[in-house]
Amino acid sequence: MKPRIAILTGYGINSDVELAQAFNLAGGDAVRVHLHDAIDGRVKLDDFAILAVPGGFSFGDHIASGRVFANRLRHKLGDTLLRLREKKVPMLGICNGFQVLVKLGLLPGTEPASFTQTCTLTFNDSGRFENRWCHLAADAKNPSLWLKGVESIYLPVRHGEGKFIPGSEALLKELQANGQACLRYRNEDGSVPEGFPANPNGSTDDIAGLCSKDGLVFGLMPHPEAHILPTQHPHWQRDGMKAEGDGLAIFRNAVHAVR
């Protein structure tokens, strides 16, 4: 049986359809679940093998990106989320969904899991929302279930608030040591970028994605669901079509892990 994946949606989330397609292409059975239906119990998140929060502008990103959606999850589904963490259900947050998981405190996360926010994602140094393709490299010692076998990938970013700032220098060191700073912006040749545009937002240590210490929860600003087909690559007409988009491996990793 295909593993069922809950894709949260509603209130301005807007990348839910293509995220569901990505999981389905990777062999999953994705279901788009309106947050309200999860809250009133019409749909039970416990019935799913993976939980994913897509990108978008939940609640217009008013107050701060992802903040209202995170609060609603915490106050209406907090127990469920902690239970899913205990049950080792993999979770994914992309773009606005990453902002939600960071603001919830599930990323980079505490042990045991709690709703303690330790980092933030804030306005890009450019002051602008930008849609731009970025080269990314996975940290060699990252524990992420999602990044198994992934070394370098090319994905678009589409955000105005993606600048990662850790709560403290000590936390940053810990994330680096644990490999939890699992995905970084890089130059095309893999070298460390000197700021914009290779690092599109000014993130500390060029960090584009984080994972929990156990590797189950993963969040990133770039959009892997926007690069699952070869024709989504901006150079597909120049370099020839690959068999699949770079992002698909991420979804396949998770679907295989829970099967």
Binding site: G10, E18, F57, N131, L229, T231, Q237
Partner: protein, 738 residues
């Protein structure tokens, strides 16, 4: 567009045109219809609908939001985009918006003269209009895939803000064609979405008069994309559950317009205005009826579905209200607290508008051509780089990059492609259905400068450019559909508009061209809109926009991977120019840069172009083309330079080889804007097959792509331009990078 017009041409021949719309726009589509069985719904709904792929249709609509954007650029422009999104949501049984387009026309952001009272400096307009469209599109989760920014000093008095949206819908829903909808007497009148306030009262009426220092900012509606996004999600869910029978949007005129149109279906309605939810107390009944407060859709809901409709809305955080019922009384009736406040005969409401009788007289203008001797003495290298840095030609990447153009995961040809993702695409190609191979091409064209010579050729060139852009990306001639958006200065002769007859004649001529080219190309017009009072002030200080026709083209591509981008792909590839170059610099960017207009406006050769376009489509289908770029503003030079920039490769070419008129000047060869041309590169292995495929059309091999990033253009033994790709890029990238 509905008026009777007495038109007199330059020879003094007079004809009476009964409705431009019926005579040219609708007639063109009717003439094409027999060869376009893929047309589903045209001119009747909020948008035109065509067949896209087996089981799927696509709808498209483009609108302008000029006056609101002039007064409140952020709010006006945002409402422009979220407003046209609603046209798509309210088209047929409700289409899902899958892409946006936007075209802006402004005066130069570097304008240093006076700015009309109450209006904004063009730089501020550019920033704020852009921010409005960007926020509206991005927050709604609809990718902005195609557009442009055009500059002309005459847009100082009124900027033009065109916003378009395309939508996708299953061809059938609940066993019925999805483009058909109806209303039964007894169906509930249901309004959904935002609440009603005083915002946007008289929005439609003030937009239809010239701006003055007394124009009301309060007439501008302010949108909220998130409220609308929630409604969008709800609407599609309710549609798939079959909960409503009819849907349309609330735009201009608010409920009066949406329900006025809907009541036609059943033959009347009884509307209880006191039941409408208000933002605040104190609105009079008439204000509730005509308010253009945003994010609202009107539905006809069968009584038995009302509870399910209401409950789903509650769960999706969307406010819905039951405002009465549709009837068959023949009257549009409104009540407030049970008392009748309005009763209008449906026939009068729809047919009662008296017809205008207007006059137009065409007298071709004569401009001074720059002397040939002075043109022959120009420094071509300097002119070439300067031309790349003109506002209409330079890169718009800084602005385009701020639009989300990839949400929904459909993109195949993005706005910028090439080695460094900065080569400007001619058109967008998207693949809306993940499990199918069909693509959809989206392009546009506009050439307002040519109106200074002849609006006939302006309109023809605008259509031709839109089609050519689509073909360059892989579109199929004969399967394309177009939308016409006219933005004209007031064409009615009056003491304030003494040249009204000339402007009306321009309008007539543009319509004649539209008919001629659309019927020649087999290109149906599926939707359109006109905006007729794009002037500021009156008398001597009056500023009128150049007559502008913005043409949008969409069309299915059988296989999205059989498309093309503009960037040169590899050193050694053979470069061709397709189409022939004539002494046509009138109204060109080059003449504009020299401060001239000229008379030799490009004349579109419909038959030659169509034959060529068919061959280009065939060559792309066969995989014979490695890059294809339309040739328009700035001529051959700009197309060649952009293809080189896109690929970060060089070019060596002899332009004397390109098909051309005898005795052509160097400047016309390089910078002339003859229609129907492309720059194409082909792998040397495919050159013979490509040339065979192009037989019968004007084309020539002019040179090769080089690894060294230098641009070397000569004409026989004479060097015309010699520069580097880096220098060209720097000149082209800089002017609008702020």
């Amino acid at each position: 567009f509905a008026a009777d017009i007495e038109y007199t041409d330059e020879a003094g021949r007079t004809e009476t045109i009964r409705s431009l719309y019926k005579t040219y726009v609708k007639a063109a589509t009717n003439a094409v219809r027999p060869s376009a069985p893929w047309l589903k719904s045209v001119f009747t709904d909020n948008a035109g609908i065509i067949e896209f792929a087996p089981g799927w249709d696509v709808a498209m609509k483009a609108e302008t939001h000029n006056s609101p954007s002039a007064l409140d650029p952020f709010g006006g422009a945002m409402t422009g985009i979220v407003g046209v999104n609603r046209d798509i949501l309210g088209c047929g049984m409700g289409c899902k918006p899958i892409f946006n387009t936007d075209v802006f026309c402004f005066a130069s952001p570097y304008h240093d003269g006076p700015v009309p009272e109450k209006l904004h400096h063009p730089k501020r307009l550019l920033k704020e209009v852009h921010r409005g469209v960007k926020d509206g599109g991005n927050e709604s989760g609809i990718p902005t895939v195609n557009g442009s920014i055009v500059f002309d000093e005459r847009y100082l008095g009124k900027p033009l803000v065109f916003c378009g949206t395309g939508g996708l819908i299953p061809s059938e829903l609940h066993g019925k064609p999805s483009w058909q909808k109806s209303i039964e007497p007894g169906d509930r009148i249901v309004m959904a979405g935002g609440r009603i306030g005083k915002d946007g009262i008289h929005g439609a009426t003030f937009s239809s008069i010239a701006l003055t220092e007394a124009s009301p900012v309060s007439a501008v509606q302010i949108g909220d994309p998130i409220t609308q996004k929630k409604m969008l999600d709800f609407l599609l869910e309710a549609r798939d559950l079959g909960l409503f029978r009819f849907v349309t949007d609330n735009g201009a005129g608010g409920l009066s317009s949406s329900l006025g149109e809907m009541a036609r279906e059943s033959g009347g309605c009884a509307l209880h205005l006191d039941r409408a939810p208000l933002k605040y107390a104190g609105l009079d009944p008439w204000e509730i009826l005509v308010s253009e407060a945003q994010e609202r859709m009107s539905f006809a809901v069968p009584p038995e579905n009302w509870e399910a409709f209401r409950d789903l809305a509650a769960r999706r955080d969307v406010e819905v209200s039951n405002l009465g019922e549709f009837t068959a009384t023949g009257n549009f009736e409104c009540f407030y607290d049970g008392k009748p406040v309005c009763r209008m005969d449906m026939e009068f409401l729809h047919e009662g508008n008296p017809k205008l009788h207007l006059k137009g007289r065409w007298a071709p203008p004569k401009h001074l051509d720059p002397p040939a001797a002075s043109l022959a003495a120009r420094d071509l290298n300097a002119d070439a780089l300067a031309l790349l840095g003109t506002l209409n030609i330079c890169s718009k990447e800084t602005w385009v990059r701020q639009y989300d153009h990839e949400v929904q995961g459909q993109s195949v040809v993005k706005p910028f492609m090439g080695a460094r993702n900065d080569g400007p695409s001619d058109a967008a190609v998207i693949k809306p259905l993940q499990d199918r191979k069909e693509g959809l091409v989206v392009s546009h064209g506009l050439s307002p400068r040519y109106s200074d010579v002849d609006a006939y050729h302006m309109a023809a060139a605008s259509v031709d450019e839109a089609v050519r852009n689509a073909v360059a990306a892989g579109g199929e001639p004969g399967k394309l559909a177009a939308l016409d958006n006219f933005c004209w200065p007031d064409p009615v002769e009056s003491p304030e508009t003494p040249d009204g007859q000339y402007k009306m004649a321009q309008l007539v001529r543009a319509n004649k061209a539209l008919y001629d080219i659309c019927t020649a190309y087999g290109l149906p017009l599926i939707s359109g809109k006109d905006s007729m009072k794009n002037d500021y002030g009156k008398g001597a200080g009056k500023i009128s926009v150049p007559p502008t026709l913005m043409v949008t083209v969409i069309g299915p591509i059988p296989d999205a991977t059989k498309s093309a981008t503009i960037d040169f792909k590899a050193a050694g590839d053979v470069v061709y120019v397709l189409g022939s170059t004539k002494e046509e610099l009138g109204g060109s960017e080059y003449f504009g840069m020299l401060g001239a207009i000229g008379n030799s406006v490009p004349v579109t050769d419909f038959a030659a172009n169509l034959a060529l376009y068919r061959k280009v489509f065939g060559a792309i289908q066969k995989g014979l083309i490695r890059s294809a770029h339309d040739c328009s503003d700035g001529g051959l030079w700009v197309s060649l330079a952009e293809s080189a920039i896109g690929g970060r490769l060089g070019l060596e070419a002899d332009l004397s080889l390109a098909a051309q008129d005898g005795g052509l000047s160097d400047v016309a060869l390089l910078f002339g804007e003859s229609q129907g041309r492309f720059v194409v590169s082909v792998s040397p292995n495919d050159a013979a097959a490509f040339e065979a495929a192009l037989q019968g059309s004007a084309f020539a091999r002019i040179g090769i792509v080089t690894e060294a990033p230098a641009l070397k253009l000569r004409r026989g033994d004479k060097t015309l331009i010699e520069t580097t790709v880096d220098a060209a890029f720097a000149a082209w990238r800089k002017p609008l990078d702020f």
